[in-house]
Symmetry: C2
Amino acid sequence: MTAVPRTTDGDGTPVPQRLLAAATRLFAEQGYDRTSVQEIVEAAGVTKGALYHYFGSKDDLLHEVYARVLRLQQERLDAFADADEPVEKRVRDAAADVVVTTIDNLDDASIFFRSMHQLSPEKNKQVRAERRRYHERFRALIEEGQRTGVFTKETPADLVVDYHFGSIHHLSTWYRPNGPLSPQEVADHLADLLLRALRP
Amino acid sequence: MTAVPRTTDGDGTPVPQRLLAAATRLFAEQGYDRTSVQEIVEAAGVTKGALYHYFGSKDDLLHEVYARVLRLQQERLDAFADADEPVEKRVRDAAADVVVTTIDNLDDASIFFRSMHQLSPEKNKQVRAERRRYHERFRALIEEGQRTGVFTKETPADLVVDYHFGSIHHLSTWYRPNGPLSPQEVADHLADLLLRALRP
DNA sequence: TACGACATACCGACTGGTTAGTCTGGCGCT
DNA sequence: AGCGCCAGACTAACCAGTCGGTATGTCGTA
């Protein structure tokens, strides 16, 4: 504990990440407003001084959680969307993948959909903008399928995307890790539902 | 303001309902935790004395909002489910109706899915129980269709219900009253998506 | 390699402000 | 002459963020 930099004393992970992890868990469990800064720093084994050394505000902490999730999901979507496969498969893969990664990070998901409106107006705007990019990318995929005739044109692509992601946002409400279905099974079922709904 | 009972002075509606209406609007706009009881009583044109005369706590107010929505939706679902029609039509009607009534009360909906976890544990449990009843009724409908062969058996009925209601809960996130689609049009589209997904 | 100057990482007491809920009292109807 | 209905001041608790202070490491210079 003498030679190591302070950032990692205690356990091996650096303080900022410990703070982020503690905040994520607590925000998901109790909600943003109900979680005090004091609780977060205690869970991370530091004090307020440390938190405000690395983060500008409690709000910043929340924003970081969002940024991480958004970046991850956008990267994955882009990878699937750009793949060299027929549209149906690209849509299916992307739709199923987002289910799996959402289940893998259920805490992030529940924070995302319960606490977005407690971000400061500017940060909220920023998050919405990135969220929109994601939405549009997915919509473009659906529209491609509609143009090429493999998907029905009956429902506007926008609505289809909102429909699918509504259910994904609510995974954190009903999915139970110790339930009968594995994340992959749920993902397959939800992707099936989407693809069947799109069938002409 | 002399002859009328206090319960209705100011305008015509009784104080408890004015409080409930003000609370609903404010909870939806700012969230439960960020709304102070002071704001609520000011919006309703009364004081804390009045609020705590009719309600036991701020929490009670939130619970009332839930109770009203749940009762309404359960009644409507029961009516559609018990109708003398083929299963497909009953499912379609029920699925579309819940969309319309949700859009008609978007405030209630956004409170519902954002603030449920801030209810006291017991009230939360109670709400979950009623919510479950609703879910099961809907699931029974789907299962009936699966048994009689008009719906595919590929996806568990439970999952189908969660899929559909996930998107309904999120209507408040993306539906814009001044957007291009009327509530009824959205309802028809979402019901179509559900029915197409269930097609064998 | 010795040393001073500066930067980084963190501590923890403190402050100013907000909040849910209580309580005493009074008005007007019956 | 009581009782439902409500006003509004008050309290006890809590909370985000600040700030002065300390310990540790780094780097330039001679």
